[in-house]
């Protein structure tokens, strides 16, 4: 155990992990919609630090840019547009909290039991030594170029689909007037 504390990476992981766990808990229990979204920012920022620790430098910054920069802003727009109750609101949860807690607790115990049982004391290699981003780029545009193209098509389709779904269609009368 004293061995565990002698490694600085473990300390960083302990602090960041506790922060991530706490803010994730607040995401699902907060009584305020805006606070839940902002706690998700804290969770994702902690995850990005964790990725830096696990030597995934590029993915960490992608996470910061895409999630914290874009997705959270989209969420805040969604909250404002749907006029979700800003401020304290006791009706954000339904009546199945007990069942949900039992299900998620059982899932957590199962997942962590399987992980601990299977990966016991597997060590991570070269912690803190960043993966070269050029290696990642060559991998994405080399071996994984087809999935990459497909996923960019998915993103394009989702963008067009989002615009089409959310657009206010003209009523038949207005469409007639326009002709």
């Amino acid at each position: 155990m004293s061995d565990w504390f002698s490694e600085p990476a473990n300390w960083v992981f302990l602090v960041v992990g506790l922060a991530v766990a706490f803010s994730a808990l607040r995401v699902v229990t907060s009584r305020n919609v805006v606070h839940a979204a902002l706690y998700l920012v804290a969770t994702l920022a902690g995850t990005a630090v964790l990725f830096l620790l696990l030597s995934a430098e590029f993915v960490a910054w992608v996470l910061v840019l895409v999630y914290i920069g874009a997705v959270i802003v989209l969420f805040l727009f969604g909250i404002m547009i749907t006029r979700a109750p800003i401020g304290y609101d006791a009706t954000l949860d339904n009546d199945h909290r007990g069942v949900a807690a039992v299900v998620s607790g059982a899932l957590f115990l199962l997942l962590s039991w399987v992980s601990i049982d299977f990966f016991g004391s597997t060590a991570l290699k070269d912690v803190g030594d960043p993966t070269a981003t050029d290696l990642l780029g060559e991998s994405i545009l080399g071996r994984f170029v087809l999935p990459f193209e497909i996923v960019s098509f998915v993103l394009l389709a989702a963008l067009i689909g989002g615009i089409t779904v959310a657009r206010k269609d003209a009523t038949p009368l207005e469409a007639e007037e326009r002709v």
């Binding site: 995850t47 949900a100 807690a101 601990i116 998915v154």
Partner: protein, 101 residues
């Protein structure tokens, strides 16, 4: 540094996401819980990548794919929530019964 604490943290995030998915009424908060679950998957991918360290950095590539798909999912999901809100004037999932007869 060992693999197991990271996996346990990811399991915790995933379980909290499942809890949020089941216990929340507001559709935007359900989407937030789904983001939490996708984030747990990303942590797992990066952790296993840090364990294996293959020459293609497969885990990191797939984490980027998951992030992309999550962004697409949020865009579509919020568009649907917006449309339902416009028609129903509510964003509570237990009041959406359009698909019931």
């Amino acid at each position: 540094m060992t693999l197991v604490p990271v996996l346990v943290l990811a399991a915790l995030l995933f379980s909290l996401g499942v809890y949020g998915l089941l216990a929340r009424r507001n559709a935007v908060l359900v989407l937030l819980a789904i983001e939490l679950m996708l984030n747990a998957v990303n942590i797992n991918l990066i952790a296993f990548e840090a364990m294996i360290r293959d020459s293609l950095a497969t885990g990191q590539v797939f984490a980027i794919f998951v992030i992309t798909v999550a962004a697409a999912e949020v865009g579509i999901g919020l568009a649907i929530v917006l449309l339902i809100f416009r028609n129903r004037a509510t964003a509570n999932v237990d009041e959406f019964n359009l698909m019931k007869w």
